[in-house]
Subunit: 345 residues, 2 copies
């Protein structure tokens, strides 16, 4: 016990060496489990380590070995359920591999700000995971200098121009396909789509899954409504849909959007699922408790985070296994917000 109270400098391997009567190199060998250390010597060193409360200095280790054992997560937001879950998944795996997790928030999608954040992440050494579901994230992923170990959590695994990068993703196309088919199978003539902002100029996977289901069923394809990420966006988008009596089924880009849509329909006096059916994506924790509870497609964000780390870990260390992503497939969860259209009850 340090009774004096003032923090004394922590013990280094040389302190331990002196205490054990060996050289610092021997201490290093003991720490790293090197085989050729005489058992009696090892014993003495371990005793000294114990007595002095020695802990290996992570900074010095990083400097000397060149490996930081750190993963920095770049994300536009930490409060969205999906983003936060991915982060939690990464942290979980990282902790198991005794990696530290750093986080950088991409406040704006402005090039300079994004570049600065990426630089900070690069400075930290180790690997980078970019959550690239939104413009800021996509820009960040593109701004990572070549040669740095990086994994993108992306909407769609498309090759960005001029470079191979590893990505992880969920099968959003399949998810949208399932949800749309579900709504069509209830008897709806078609399904309207309120979209989250697309991260790229290309058609999003969700949009194309929705489109495919419509096409297969021979249903007319309404123009998708572009919206934002949160409930307010869904609410705004649904105000006009609610006025159109031919709208009987709405698929929403995520559960937050769906919440706003539900609200707008309620305000417009259109009962759900009596007149209009609504479905979302993600299966956020609150979705099951809404009134009406929300039909949605569950996505395995935590698994996605774990997969991202696994991939990065494989790139960072030879020995680490590069597992194929064990991300669960999207699962349709049918609840109260979807039902047959008014005519077919």
């Amino acid at each position: 016990m340090n009774v004096t109270g003032h923090t004394r400098r922590p013990a280094s391997i040389r302190d331990v060496a002196t205490a054990a009567g060996v050289s610092y190199q021997t201490v290093s060998r003991v720490i790293n489990g090197h085989p050729s250390v005489r058992p009696s010597t090892r014993e003495r060193v371990l005793a000294a380590i114990e007595e002095l409360g020695f802990r290996r200095n992570a900074t010095a280790l990083a400097l000397a070995s060149g490996r930081t054992r750190t993963v920095t997560v770049l994300t536009a937001n930490t409060t969205h359920y999906g983003y936060a879950s991915i982060l939690q998944g990464i942290e979980e795996s990282a902790r198991a591999a005794s990696y530290a997790v750093g986080i950088g928030v991409l406040e704006s999608a402005e090039d300079a700000a994004v570049a600065a954040e990426v630089q900070r992440a690069a400075d930290a050494g180790g690997g980078i995971v970019v959550i690239a579901y939104d413009p800021a994230g996509v820009r960040a992923l593109g701004a990572v200098p070549a040669g740095l170990p990086v994994v993108g959590v992306v909407e769609t695994p498309a090759s960005p121009p001029g470079g191979e990068s590893p990505w992880v993703w969920t099968d959003d196309r399949e998810a949208a396909y399932q949800a749309t088919r579900h709504l069509l199978s209830l008897g709806h003539e078609t399904v309207h789509y309120v979209a989250i902002p697309s991260s790229t100029r290309r058609t999003s996977a969700r949009t194309s899954g929705w489109r495919q289901a419509l096409k297969e069923a021979g249903a007319p394809e309404p123009r998708p409504v572009q919206s934002s990420w949160g409930p307010a966006g869904g609410h705004a988008a649904a105000l006009e849909l609610a006025r159109d009596p031919s709208v009987t089924a709405v698929l929403c880009g995520n559960d937050d959007l769906a919440l706003g849509v539900l609200r707008a329909l309620h305000e417009a006096g259109r009962p759900v699922p009596g007149e209009v059916s609504v479905a979302g994506f993600d299966d956020a924790p609150h979705s099951a408790f809404l009134t009406p509870s929300l039909t949605t497609v569950r996505l395995d964000f935590t698994g996605l985070g774990r997969a991202a780390f696994a991939l990065l870990h494989g790139a960072l260390e030879e020995s680490a296994p590069v597992a194929p992503h064990p991300v669960s497939v999207p699962e349709l969860v049918v609840r109260e917000s979807s039902g047959p259209p008014p005519g077919e009850r």
Copy 2:
């Protein structure tokens, strides 16, 4: 441009020194803005820095200077809105002060696991912020070795036995008081309380604010219902409250809980706010879009995070200002879920 493609070792100050024809120390002086460097020399060094793309190695800086410029946030969860917002607030301030943000999730409240996480945070150097709203967090805060710079984000600023620590907090007592008074002023005889788990054995600030409002109004004080953090807990807790016709107003420990309560009341056929009024805490993003929209007390989590960092920053650096926490006071947000009791409409 590095056309060869293979990553070459980044330039060090000695590389820059060689390129500029000065000593490494002069480069160091330029980097750190030391006054006594001849302008022409400075110019040459800056040119070399630019040309070689030199960036100061954060690891070496940390090792040599002893300062890590890192803050590690320990939290039980990253997906809860409040926790995630605090994290975002910390990150925002940290970024402005060019500190890196690390994150450690307290998976369980088990002593060994918590101690391990705290150790990891301590190993990272720099400061620690512990979100101590729950048992895991409280335990972590207690497990931080004395002498380490730490700030706790706590429910109530109580002195833990045997030590002074800095904390930040919101005025939960006031928040609960306001919400309870609001409900009483609508004419309810009393207000029932569904509580989030208390982080300590002592009465939580929310509970005592609620109690005080009841007492001042001469209202009977029902036994608080202990619940969990999520909607499922609120749902379970409200099942019995819903059966009791004398229950006309329910205050919930947070908005998630309130969501579960709303759902349970709906299932029990008790209209809100027709028969029962419900209020929550936090003003989570979805609360305004629920049906009925939720009366709640807005808490400034982001500000709380900023305050936590400011305090830590002050402890870590002499020069940094130790601002008094500029956390906004709780603000009652009245929405649809609260109204007069059935008799008084």
